[in-house]
Symmetry: C2
Subunit: 137 residues, 2 copies
């Protein structure tokens, strides 16, 4: 299941990408428009800023803006920051690898083989889609 955090984050990024002009977009505006609890969204925006997707301006007339072009922002990267591993088991994760405690040898594990395929296909989608694709049309 996709967490609300990730879903809200993706919606917020899309909203900013769609916004016209170069003025920063405010949390309160996104929150109202996308039905996202404002305080919750605050913490998500903070994460997105700290991980290099957004820039911010403080104080009156402040807000958030994209640092990179929408076409440069891969969904896979956003997902990793907000959701964590893309793989369904840690032992097939490229960026968050961990050994399973119940498997003496993961190459013998039937689940491992299956989950590599799932990971590869999911990754294909998430690498091919950028923020531009989400906000387009």
């Amino acid at each position: 299941m996709l967490s609300k955090k990730t879903k809200y984050g993706l919606k917020a990024l899309t909203y900013i990408a769609k916004s016209v002009g170069d003025v920063p977009v405010q949390i309160s505006e996104i929150s109202k428009s996308e039905n996202i609890p404002q305080k919750f969204l605050e913490s998500i925006m903070l994460t997105l800023r700290k991980s290099g997707f957004l820039g911010s301006k403080k104080g009156k007339h402040g807000g958030y803006y994209l640092i990179k072009e929408p076409s440069e922002i891969k969904m896979a990267d956003v997902m990793r920051v907000l959701e964590g591993p893309i793989a369904m088991v840690p032992c097939v994760s490229l960026n968050f690898y961990e050994k399973c405690d119940d498997c003496p040898d993961e190459h013998e594990c039937s689940v491992h083989k299956l989950m590599i395929q799932v990971r590869d296909n999911t990754l294909k989608v998430l690498r091919n889609n950028t923020l531009e694709d989400l906000s387009g049309s």
Copy 2:
């Protein structure tokens, strides 16, 4: 993340599929061999039996056996029983559809579009793989 329940369930099914002869396989044997807590595995086997993947024999020399051929058991079906929806958001789930409470119109939702692609690619893998594929070689 794949739950332990699902992972254990898939391992247990694989173990039974690999077992030779037509005698029922016992929980205690699977539990030891696959490092799965026995009591936890008990409840998983029960679920798999009630959902039509396994048959059981009670009492001494009892145990579990496959009801269908391994090649007939699609991973997608097992996953739905043990893990629930395959889709990452309920609003793109084929078997567990639910409307999102934050989306007035899901066809306008950028996340929706992305998650349909993820679902379709995951489904492709889980439909193409059967228990035979997991237990083979």
